[in-house]
Amino acid sequence: MRRSLEQAERHAIPVKVLSSWYDIDDSESLDWLLAELRGDKPPGHVHEGRKRRRPARRSVLMRERSGVAAAMALVLLALALFNPYLHVPADPALSALRDPEQYGLIDKRDYAVTIYPPVAEVIFALITRISTTLPR
């Protein structure tokens, strides 16, 4: 562990230290986590061939990286970075935030910035942030 951290620091690789039991050191565990993050696999799923329940990797990971304060900070950061009164939905600056399914349903996306006041914008951003942490 210590050597891994030293190596990471030497190569300027950002490190997130998870709980000690949170072990992803094989391809199977990594695939499991990625499937949970993608929403393909529900968190806390009972692993085949094992009696014990596997930890809810996705929800634990989300909890570790986004408590309420962190979620609020991310929302405010997102609003600061993407001032909704400056960008129309079709703005290329927002392309990374798009849900292709929802984007197709937005009318007036080429010319209409939001009509909602700031508290509504914060609510929308917060709901979106929370919904991305929930299993699908």
């Binding site: 001032n83 009164y85 209409a112 910035v113 009509i115 909602y116 006041p117 700031p118 508290v119 609510i123």
Partner: protein, 208 residues
């Protein structure tokens, strides 16, 4: 989003429950509100953000209303910054001729707009074009003006005159509802209901 709006609606219902108890009314009357098709259809079904405004509006009265005007003004202002219609509840917190409360509300709104100040006048967003598209600038989208138009009596000057008269009438109505500076809950709710109904009556759209 719909689930969140239903949760806001739940907060509104709890606040109404508390208000009914404080008014000495039977909370069973809430059944009529809960079974009304509008919240079921428009909030649970369509996820309209008015649910948050209603939660703030009823919540403001539930935390004290005009008896604790500055405390109540916080959720009321937040509600108005979700949907501006919620601002029609603010006069119910005001006592003639208190200057501190309006200043507090304006300062709070300004602080909440501050993170978006880079947009300058753009912080009103799509509103001007929306008013135009909905025929509210020309008057074609307002039922009463459209009615005059059908009778061949509408002129171009009528839309701005109607808007100015509506604003003046609402201001006068707000002052009239607060003329005695009553701080009791019933007066506050009655005044707010009157203002909201008058506003919705005045800007009744031409939608079927």
């Amino acid at each position: 989003m719909k689930l969140a709006m239903v949760l806001f609606e739940a907060v509104a219902v709890l606040a109404v429950f508390r208000l009914l108890r404080r008014l000495g009314k039977n909370p069973g009357g809430l059944v009529a509100y809960l079974l009304h098709p509008t919240p079921i259809w428009e909030i649970a079904g369509n996820g309209h953000v008015e649910a948050a405004t209603l939660a703030c509006l009823y919540g403001a009265f539930a935390v004290g209303g005009a008896e604790r005007p500055f405390v109540a003004a916080i959720p009321m202002t937040l509600g108005a910054l979700v949907k501006p219609t919620g601002a029609l509840g603010l006069p119910a917190l005001w006592r003639p001729y208190q200057a501190g409360l309006p200043l507090f509300v304006v300062a709070m709104a300004a602080a909440l707009y501050l993170p978006f100040a880079a947009a300058r006048t753009g912080i009103v967003g799509f509103l001007p074009r929306y008013l135009e598209e909905q025929g509210l600038m020309s008057g074609e989208g307002v039922f009463w003006l459209a009615l005059l138009g059908k009778a061949g009596l509408r002129s171009q000057a009528m839309a701005p005159a109607f808007a100015a008269l509506t604003v003046l009438a609402l201001l006068a109505l707000a002052l009239w509802t607060r003329r005695r500076g009553a701080t009791d809950l019933a007066s506050g709710l009655r005044g707010s209901a009157l203002l909201l109904v008058a506003f919705l009556f005045a800007i009744t759209p031409t939608f079927p």
